[in-house]
Each structure stands twice: as C-alpha cells, then as structure tokens.
C-alpha cells in the first residue's frame, strides 16, 4: 500500500451553537495517497466542507490527528499554518470567491504576490496560466464580466498557479450548468495528471465518481463505509 499524503485519525470538529455542541465532523479516520483524485460525497451538512477546511488549514480540529505530507497540522503555529496554505494548498470554492475589484489576471496572481513576488512578475505568470486554461482572451475582465464557468476556471487557475501539492475544491461545479461543469472537471482531471498534485473535491455531483481515484462518503459528520481506493 502506498504511503498516505493526507491522513486523519479520529478527526473531530465541534462547534458551539448556543448551549449545544454541534459535531460538524466526528471521529473521521482516512488516508489519501499522493496525486490522488479523491472525491468526498455527502448531503448538505454532512461535514464535507469542514473536512476540506481542516485539511486546508483554514480551520483547526477540536480533536484528532491530521497529517499532510508528514506534517502534523495541529502542531503548527498560526504563522506556520499561513505558510502551509501559501506554499502547499490551492483552494477552489463553490462560489469561486474571486475578489470583485480585481480583474482575472490579478485574482490569479494573488497567491504569487502572497509568496512575495512582484505584481508585474505575478501577472505575467498568471497570464500564462489563464492562457493554458483557455482564458487568455479574458484576462482583463472583472469577475462580474465573466460567466459562471469562466469564473470557476479563473478560480482553478488561482488554485494551481503556485504549484501546490494539494488542491481542495468545494463544490466546484455546484453553481454551473452541465457543460461548464464538464469543462471544469476535465480541467481538474488534466491538472491532477499534469501537476501530480493531490486533489480532494467535495461534491454532490455523481459524475465525478467515475473520475475519482478514491471516494469518501460522509453522513452527519461521520465516514460512511471505509474509503475505497482505486
């Protein structure tokens, strides 16, 4: 069995809502190998996004272990966690979360600027990335001037431009028509193969199952059956 790139052990995230504890994720143990195309299925409220938040280091677990590429995320300081996200993780959100006041080029350049590159250099690299994803003629457009599919391609370009080891996508096709969704999924599959990065995708879209190298199912914050690996 290959070594795990993402590994969780009894991972739990509990929120306080009034006087009540809500288990968004409860006792989740899983392992995702390097370069996997892992798909997390589950109904709304099942904990998919919470799992991605924890793996991506934008939230911290209440208890349990979480290792990514051998690094225990729980042990990282806030500053180290910032660096982990900056250097190792790319995010694609359902509603893309592009900054509305920046054009496509600048949105894609953001992770490189966060790494310390100049805007000029980052823009130049972003142009190449957008061109590679078929968006070369839309670089100067603001998000509001792009279609849903185009916005999601820009978000995908932003997620991969810094060459992350891990790409986390939360319902990347949830807001798209079927044709745009298919285009985005094709791009993600090819990026997974070309970059060798591990993709973890939370979705309702059953069409993704055929592309997945690993399927994870969550119900009410718990793993359903053991995660099959392909």
């Amino acid at each position: 069995m290959s070594r795990s790139f993402v590994q969780t052990q009894s991972l739990t995230r509990t929120y306080r809502r009034g006087s009540e504890d809500v288990h968004a994720l409860l006792d989740v143990t899983l392992a995702i190998p390097p370069s996997a195309f892992a798909v997390v299925f589950g109904p709304s409220g099942s904990g998919k996004s919470t799992l991605l938040n924890l793996i991506g280091g934008i939230d911290r677990p209440t208890s349990g272990g979480l290792r990514v590429d051998g690094v225990e995320l729980n042990a990282l300081t806030e500053r180290q966690l910032d660096r982990y996200r900056r250097d190792h993780v790319g995010f694609v959100f359902q509603f893309n979360n592009l900054l509305p006041n920046l054009d496509a080029l600048e949105n894609v350049a953001l992770p490189l600027v966060a790494q310390g590159q100049s805007w000029a250099r980052a823009r130049s690299q972003a142009r190449d990335q957008l061109t590679a994803l078929g968006m070369g003629d839309r670089v100067g457009h603001r998000p509001a001037e792009l279609s849903g599919g185009e916005q999601q391609r820009v978000a995908l370009a932003r997620a991969v431009i810094s060459g992350p080891d891990l790409v986390l996508a939360d319902e990347p096709t949830g807001d798209l028509d079927s044709k745009s969704a298919e285009t985005v999924l094709d791009l993600m599959s090819s990026l997974n193969q070309d970059l060798g990065a591990t993709f973890v995708i939370a979705t309702h879209n059953p069409r993704l199952e055929s592309r997945a190298t690993q399927v994870i199912e969550l119900t009410n914050g718990r793993m359903s059956p053991p995660a099959p690996q392909r």
């Binding site: 919470t50 910032d82 996200r85 900056r86 959100f93 979360n97 900054l99 509305p100 006041n101 966060a114």
Partner: protein, 379 residues
C-alpha cells in the same frame, strides 16, 4: 498590499468619497480650533509697557464701563510724587467704525509719544480736534490711509497719520482727550488713568504705594501695570480657549471613532474577500497591512481635503474679517507645525481606530471569515 488597497477604494468610489468627507470635516474642525486656541492664548499674553500703571474702577472687567473721578489724577500725582513723569485720564470706548470694531482712546496728545510710545509710520500728528491718528492694525483692518475721512460716532474725522506702539494688539484710533470729550459728552468722563513713571522709579514699589494711597483717598480703584492689565483682560477668555481646545480634542477622538466605525464596516463588508486573502496565503500581518493602508489612504485624502478647506477658509472666509475680541484683533494662523501636528494626529487617530476594528476581524480563522461553518451555505 497598497495595490489591493487602492484597487479596493477605486472600486467603491462613492463610499471612499463619503469616508473622506466624513473624516475631513472633523480634521477641518481640528485645523481651525487649534489656531483659534492659540490666537486666544496670544491675546491673553502680556503686552504693553511696564512703566505704565493703569488705574481703573475696581471689579470692572470691560474698561469702557469704568469711571474715574475727576480729581483722581491729582491724588495719584500726590501719592507718587517725583516718581511720576505724567498722569493722563483716558476716554476709552469700543465701537464700530464703518463696520469695524475699534478701540478708541481719547488721551492728551502730549502723552502719545512719552507714555504710550507711539511711533508715526506715515502722515503727521493731529493739529486740531478734527484729526485722529489711526493705529496700524486698524488701518490694515479697515483699509484706511492717511488723508481719509472716517465717520466716528456720527462725526467726521480726518486721518492725520498712521502710528504703531509696542505690543499693540488692538485696532485702535487715537484722538485728543478734548476731541473725545466733545464727541461723547462730559457725563461719563474718563474710564482710565494712566500713570507714566520715571525710568528711575521702581515700578513695584510705586504700584504698592499707589494701591495703599488709593485706598486712603478713594477705595474703589485698582492699579495694574499695563501688561498685567492686558493679561487680566485676556484671562477672561481662558474659558473660551479651554473650550476650543476641548473641542479640538473631541474632533480628534471623533476621527478615531469615525475611523474605527468606517474600518469596522469595511472589514465586515469584506469578510469573504479577507477570508480569501487568508486562504490563498496572505498572513494576518499582510491582511492587517492591507486594512491599515486602505485606512491610511482615506486618512491622507481626508487630511488634504481638510487642510485645503482650512487654508481657504482662513484666507477667504476669515481673512477679510479679522478675528476681533473686544475690539482687539488677534490673528487666526495655521502654521506649518500646526498642519504637521494635524496630519500626525489625524493619521494616528485613523490608524488607531482601524487597528482596533481590524484586530477583531484578524483574530478569527479564514474559515470563519469565509462563512464556512455548520448552517452556512457551504457546510
């Protein structure tokens, strides 16, 4: 991050403009209140001549309300003896001359140079009771020149010359005692008595002797050195100065609170973009810098707007109508150090207000900023 801050402000020009105007109004108030406080302070500072003792009716604040008994000059002369150079009754009025508040002093022309050290700047000393000498500040304030005819208290006078005296702060018109007495009538008489001491006389001893002597001959007078009298008069304005300083402090506190509210609103409206910035790798410090730079641009723009407005207001709003208090002119001046102080305080207030509000936003996790918890649309 400055690129992001400017892009953000350009994206929402209306809010940016509103923020700049809202803070600018407060900074404008500050930039006017500080010069006002200093102008009042300057007014209260000592002026006048230490060799001159002023005798005025006891417990009277406004000199024009004082009345001097006709025989008091003889009494003063007797008390001071050979220490006295000369003593002169003064008719003192504050009135409007062609719309300008003017201090009118009616005093024997023989004392103008010796006692009051007037120095003729242009023209000549009056040769008859229809002529007056205009103080330099009054000449500047009213735009009067030598040879002009002006109407005082319903009677025409010719400006014989322009003069200035040491420490003069008031817009003053000088006329002979006889001319003033004719103008206002004999009923109220003189308001002040000015005793000019010999240079060899000790002013403190002379004053003490005069106060003791006055009590024995007529108990209802006070004797001040001229500079102390001016200071006493100015001290009555201390409350006004304190109030304007307090208002200036309130203006700066309001800038802090206003900045806090604006930054809080901006941060709340931008929770998701801030979460995105954190998620793509910007650390808390970088996002904090972005918020501070954004506030800094608003602060500098507000300051420049306020500074321009204050300069224009002082030059064109106050300029033609100099600030006068009880007939005394005091200048409203915005000096470079005051302007720099305003910039520093406004920037510090803005950055403090922004930091206080940004701290709360930066403390939460990126997931929370993105609204990604149970019950959110993303869960």
């Amino acid at each position: 991050m400055i690129h992001l801050a400017i892009r953000d402000l350009r994206h929402d020009l209306l809010t940016f403009g509103f923020s700049v105007v809202a803070l600018g109004v407060l900074v404008f108030a500050f930039l006017l209140l500080i010069p006002l406080s200093l102008a009042i302070t300057r007014f209260g500072e000592a002026g006048g001549l230490p060799q001159n003792l002023i005798i005025v009716e006891r417990d009277i604040l406004q000199p024009e309300q004082s009345r001097i008994a006709p025989n008091l000059a003889e009494g003063v002369a007797a008390i001071l003896g050979d220490r006295l150079n000369r003593v002169d009754p003064v008719i003192f009025r504050i009135l409007r001359v062609e719309g300008h508040p003017i201090q009118l002093r009616g005093v024997a022309t023989g004392s103008w140079v010796t006692t009051f050290r007037l120095r003729l700047l242009e023209g000549a000393w009056p040769t008859d009771s229809s002529e007056i000498v205009m103080g330099q500040l009054a000449s500047q304030g009213g735009g009067w020149r030598t040879g002009d005819e002006i109407n005082i208290y319903g009677q025409p006078f010719r400006v014989a010359g322009i003069a200035d005296g040491p420490g003069t702060k008031t817009q003053t018109v000088w006329m002979s005692y006889a001319a003033a007495s004719d103008l206002f009538g004999p009923e109220k008489g003189a308001q002040l008595l000015v005793a000019h001491l010999q240079p060899s006389a000790d002013p403190l001893t002379a004053r003490q002797d005069l106060e003791n002597g006055l009590r024995s001959i007529a108990g209802e007078y006070d004797a001040y050195f001229e500079d102390a009298f001016v200071r006493e008069y100015g001290a009555a304005l201390n409350d006004l100065r304190s109030l304007s300083l307090l208002a200036a402090v309130i203006a700066i506190v309001a800038v802090t609170l206003g900045s806090h509210n604006l930054a809080w609103l901006a941060a709340e409206e931008r929770r998701r973009p801030l979460g995105v910035l954190r998620a793509v790798g910007f650390d808390r410090e970088a996002v904090g810098r972005y918020l501070l730079l954004r506030a800094g641009v608003v602060s500098v723009a507000s300051y420049l707007l306020a500074l321009a407005a204050a300069i224009l207001f002082i030059r064109f709003g106050v300029g033609p109508n100099p600030l006068t208090i009880g007939g005394a002119q005091t200048a409203l001046i915005l000096t470079p150090p005051m302007a720099v102080l305003g910039l520093l305080l406004a920037s510090a207030a803005t950055l403090t207000g922004t930091w206080l509000s940004a701290r709360a936003v930066l403390r939460v996790s990126p997931a929370s900023l993105l609204g990604r918890g149970p019950g959110s649309t993303f869960a």
